[in-house]
Structures are given as C-alpha cells and as structure tokens.
Amino acid sequence: MTNYSSISSAFKNHYPSLILYAVKWVKDEDLAKDLVQAVFVKLLEKSERIMIIDYRPYLYKSVRNQCIEHLRKNSPKDNIEDIDHSTIAYFSDPIEQSEFEAYVFGLIDKLPPATKRIFKLNRFDGLSNQEIADHLQISKRTVELQISNALKLLRKELFKSSDKIHNLSQFLYLLF
C-alpha cells in the first residue's frame, strides 16, 4: 500500500471530528461512526489508484457524501440539506465546529482526574450539580468549584494554541 501511513495519520488526526461532523447529518453516534469507518475502508481500497495531497477537505467531503447517500437510501423524501448546527452559533462552518469540538474533547481528557470526572458527569451525562454531589458524596459547592476549575484550565489550554484562537476570534465579537 503506497500511502498507507499517510491515511493512518489522517485517520488519527481527523477521526473524532469526522464523527462529530457525521453526527450533524445522521444524528446518531453509532451510525456516524459506521459511516466514517466506511469512508476509510473505501479510501484504503482505492489507495493504490489515487493520490491525495490534502486529506482534510477530501475526508469531510467524503463523509458528507456518505451521510447523504445513507439518508437518501433510508428516507428519500427527507430534506437532506438541513444540517443541525443550532447548538453553537459562533461557527458558520460545521467542519470547523466539529474540529473545535473534537479539540475541546481532547483537552477535557487531559484535565486532572477529579475535575475531569465532575465535568464529564455534568456535561456528558447531563447530571445536575446536586445529583453529582449526592453521587460522589461531596458538597454541591465543591462540584461547582470543580466545574469552575475545569473551565479555567480549558481556557488556559485554549490560549496556548494560537491557531485555534485565530479560528475563534472572528466569532467572539458576535455577541457583544
């Protein structure tokens, strides 16, 4: 396989954000995963015949096509152009949004264990602060402090990588 290693590294770089991107189309995590994987299976199969210089646009376009193809097959009458990006208004481009989300996820994973656990329980599992406090047998005040701590650390990390900030800066003025 000629460009096996470049496909492998493209997979490692883009896989999480590609899934998030696919979720916006098909609205199902497991299905999104399958569709992204199918794109890579296809890519590996024809890797000997094609040459890709920039993987990023190619992969997002392929995932988009894969999702649309899936939606057509399963609900021919649905309005397929309708991507859901209502959750974060700052991003005009769903690709950038997906990448940013995947990036934040990576940062969350690097938080100190206790902070990470509490932050995940709140954001990913949707528990209320009182529920987290009961569950971990700590005070509600500690839960709130830990969430605050997580936000501080994440913001600090975000500042470190200037290119991400650059992507973001244009959206920051929207609110004020």
Binding site: Y15, P16, F100, I147
Partner: protein, 320 residues
C-alpha cells in the same frame, strides 16, 4: 473572575438578580472579561457536543477498518453474489429452525435431580405420567407438552409410568438413545455411557440417537441395551431391574457380579472384587426391603465370601 461557573450560570440565566448584577458589572470592566465569558460559553457548548467521543478507541477502530478493507474481495461475480444471497436466506431459515428447537430446553424446560441417597424422588408430569428418579438421576421436563409429542430428557436411572395418549407419543432422550412409547411402564438406566431400557408393560421402541436408524422394539420382560457395541435386545425373567425402587430382588443362580451391580443401584456404594474368580460365584436368594447389612450377611454365608463394608465401599474377598 474567580468562579467561572458563575459565568455559565449567567449564560443559562440561572442567577439571582443580585448575582446577575455582579457578573454584568464585571463584564463591563474590560473587553478581556467579555472574552473570558465568551470562551467559557464556547467551551461549555462544545463539551456537550463531544458526547459521542467519550468511548472512542481510535487504535481499535483503525484496526477494524484495516481488517474490513483487507477482507473485502476486489469484485464479486454477480452470480456468486446472487448465490450467496440465496444461501444466506436458507441459512437464516435453518438457523431459526435450529434455534427454536434448541431453546425448548432453555426456556420452558425445568431440571430436577434426585440428591437424596436413600430416597426415590417421584415426579408427576403434567399429563399424569410419573417418573421415579434414582439417586443422582436428573430429568429435564416441561411445564406443558406442546406440539405432537411428549419429550423429556433423562440422565441416570429412572422408572417411568407413562399415561396412555395415542396421539402424543412419549419420548425419553438419554445422551445416546431415544426411547419412544405410547403408554406403558418401563425403566431407563442411562448411567456410565449406556442406556438400558427394561419394559414392565406395553410397547417401547429404543432408537440409537447417534446413527438414528438402528433400533429395537421391546415387549414386557424384554430389555434393550445400547452401549459401545451398538443396540441389542435381551430377555429377562425377574423384576430385579426395578429393585432399586421396590427393594424386591429375586436371584436364582445369579452371578455375584450381577447381584452386586443390581444392589449398587439401590444402595449407592462402590465395590471392588479382590479376586476375579469371585465374580462368577452364584447366589440364590430373595430379598424384600432388607437393609444392606442384612443382605451382606446373607451373601457372605451363602456364597462363602468375605464382604467388608467401610465408608460406603464394598470389598469382596475370599473367605480364608
């Protein structure tokens, strides 16, 4: 801001008027503060979006993709593809049939085993048939008999008294044989990789489950035996085969080996002949519910042997 969570609460509109006023005052202080607020909100929102990535295993998924890409043949001939589809349909039908046949034992059947060494456990089935289980014998039986036959499964030694029902044959499965009857009483001994069926009344058919063709048809006082050598028939003249249940034995010039083997079914001991010649010594006696000690006494006297009983072990030796 010391407590960034206050910003999120403000964003979610969850603050009291007083707190809200504080945060908004802080925001007005500088654009830096406004930026801080923005970042927190963006992180907050993005973190919720990351939910599907919680259990992502990149290494594992990459290997999965590799195996899928390698496994897929380049191009399948259309005819082969079509053939495979048909095969798949048959496979599913066959699989469903097999599954439904096999789940009977798991879902509707229950299992009972006799764990009492000195008692016979008798089960009455839903059709009125009774099964008497010897020590360690196990029975799989259903709460209801569905379908066109009454099917149960036996491990070990048991006596059956089957209620007559011509339209629903009664079937006993042992590990190696299939015993089929209409209505009768008979004994099935399925221990030590053998099946011995002895008929008291009625008609019984024993089929070899392994080759599925060889069988014997048995009438009262006939015995069908399946062992390593296959399946065959024997005439019997006594009711000793159900002695384990009745306690009644009638021996007439019976070999000592046969006597001990039959008594073992009732008293559950292990035995050892110290001298092989002793196995062919003959015994003529009648027993009717005696205990093992008394029976041993009688055998010792009439056969001129010594029998030692210790911790459930019989040792038979010459009488010096």
């Amino acid at each position: 801001m010391d407590n960034q969570y206050q910003l999120i609460k403000h964003y979610q509109n969850k603050l009291s008027e007083n707190e809200k006023y504080k945060v908004e005052g802080w925001l007005k202080e500088s654009t830096n503060n406004q930026e801080e607020y923005e970042y927190c909100v963006i992180i907050w929102e993005a973190a919720q979006q990351s939910k599907p990535l919680q259990k992502l295993n990149i290494e594992h998924d990459w290997n999965l993709i590799l195996s899928k890409a390698n496994r897929k043949p380049k191009r399948l001939n259309k005819i082969i593809k079509y053939g495979l589809q048909i095969a798949a349909v048959f496979l599913i039908i066959f699989g469903a049939y097999w599954f439904s046949n096999n789940t009977i034992y798991k879902s509707e059947y229950q299992y009972v085993q006799n764990e009492w060494r000195n008692k016979v456990k008798t089960i009455t089935l839903v059709d009125g048939s009774t099964v008497s289980l010897n020590y360690k014998a196990g029975l799989y039986y259903p709460k209801r008999f569905n379908g066109h036959e009454r099917k149960i499964k036996l491990e070990g030694n048991a006596f059956f008294n089957v209620a007559r029902n011509k339209s629903k044959p009664f079937r006993v499965e042992t590990p190696i044989s299939m015993v089929q009857v209409l209505g009768t009483s008979f004994n099935v001994d399925a221990t030590n990789n053998k099946t011995i069926v002895t008929v008291k009344s009625g008609k019984v058919q024993v089929t070899n489950k392994i080759d599925d063709t060889s069988n014997v048809k048995l009438l009262p006082n006939e015995q069908g035996i399946q062992d390593r050598n296959g399946i065959y028939k024997k005439h019997i003249s006594t009711q000793n085969y159900i002695g384990w249940k009745t306690g009644k034995y009638s021996f007439e010039n019976e070999s000592l080996l046969e006597v001990i083997t039959l008594l073992e079914k009732r008293f559950h001991f292990s035995f050892l002949f110290l001298d092989n010649d002793l196995k062919t010594r003959e015994l003529t006696a009648e027993f009717n519910g005696e205990n093992l000690k008394d029976i041993i006494e009688i055998i010792q006297l009439s056969c001129q042997v010594r029998i030692n009983l210790e911790s459930n072990k019989l040792t038979i030796s010459k009488n010096e």
